[in-house]
Amino acid sequence: MKTFKLQLSICFWLCLFLSAIECRADTPVFTIEIRNHLFNPSTLVVPSGKKVKLIVHNLDETPEEFESYELNREKIIMGGAKATIFIGPLDPGDYPFFGEFYPKTAQGIIKVQS
């Protein structure tokens, strides 16, 4: 019971904290669109060593799941919805991502450059 109360209070403070966090001024923001099960742009260049905010806008009617093993991110984005995904800080290199629901067409790369 004590553990549950602790978990509950942690959740409460977590929610409070999250709603208070605004986009920090120095966090670069990039937008990727999903249209016809394709990512646009399919290649994104982001700075290295910094936290980066990705906004994925699903313009299709059906949901898609943005997923990347290299970036360790996966998020379902409902049709017509926007999703925020934080990545980084990352070392320079190529980090592919794909749409899990339509993996053959929805593919892209995030190129991290210093």
Binding site: C15, L18, M78, I87, E100
Partner: protein, 274 residues
């Protein structure tokens, strides 16, 4: 169709492993298995609910609703697994009498209720979490009658393969752990709980609440995450090819209580059992 098999299989595998190990634990400690049917039913209902409200959930908490729900469900599973770990230790101590002894005193029934709730809780949360993603994926094909048929067939195949692997794991676990029930049982619970905790950290990093750091190592050259072995290891022990320091720390922190519990039981003075 192949991609739908893989997508559904991945989700089904994670849930199937938890269900099969908890079923085996219940079986080895003399519990009846009927709790599983109720848990699966509730989990299914819950996963439909979550899938149905997925847009609202995703938009809540400044877009972090999906991750927060995932973190909550994972946390509940981990807490339930810890409770079940304690239950295993007490069962080995003979503190909890098994159903075979047919004792119906009130304290006994209360303990039974607790363990059934823990088992049901873990399975409901696991099935809700994995199931909702499957329904969201399959529901997206309702608009597209051409692609719907292979997608649903592929989904059914993936579910079947996942269930079969769960059955194999169930009997494998019974076979292995009958001799060393305590150690093997708690080990598996520990590894699964550790894997779930790694996912919690990943979800929180994704929302930006936790700061991500550079991976400590990269073993994708040895076992790629998207390979079959990688997926199996991911479901079983939470394998990450590029774990961050925080994920490693959390993994150790979650696995340690289980190890400590079993070692403590192994070396404590024997109680006077009736």
């Amino acid at each position: 169709m192949l991609s739908s098999v893989i997508i559904v299989l991945r989700e089904a595998l994670e849930a199937a492993l938890i269900v099969s190990i908890l079923l085996a634990v219940g079986r080895l400690t003399g519990l009846r298995s009927r709790w599983c049917a109720l848990a699966l039913f509730l989990g299914l209902m819950n996963s439909w609910l979550i899938a149905g409200f997925s847009s609202q959930i995703a938009d809540s908490f400044d877009g972090a609703g999906q991750e927060l729900l995932s973190v909550s469900l994972l946390s509940i599973i981990i807490i339930c697994l810890m409770g079940i770990g304690i239950y295993i230790v007490r069962a080995m101590n003979g503190v909890i009498v098994t159903l075979r002894d047919n004792i119906h005193s009130t304290p006994y029934q209360n303990r039974q209720l607790t363990i059934y709730l823990l088992l049901i809780g873990a399975v409901v949360c696991a099935v809700s979490r994995e199931g909702s993603e499957v329904w969201i994926y399959l529901a997206s094909f309702l608009h597209d009658s051409v692609a719907a048929y292979p997608a649903f067939i592929g989904g059914a195949i993936g579910m079947g393969i996942g269930a079969s692997l769960g059955v194999i794991f169930y009997y494998g676990f019974l076979f292995v752990s009958y001799q060393h029930f305590l150690f093997v049982g708690i080990l598996f619970l520990a590894l699964i709980a550790g894997g779930l905790s790694v996912q919690i950290v990943q979800d929180l990093m994704q929302t930006g609440f936790l700061d991500s750091t550079m991976p400590v190592w990269d073993t994708s050259g040895w076992v790629a995450e998207n390979s079959l072995l990688g997926q199996l290891l991911y479901a079983l022990i939470g394998y990450e090819a590029r774990p961050t320091a925080l994920q490693l720390i959390v993994y150790v922190c979650v696995v340690s209580p289980f190890i400590v519990l079993s070692v403590w039981h192994r070396y404590k003075k024997p109680e006077n059992n009736s």
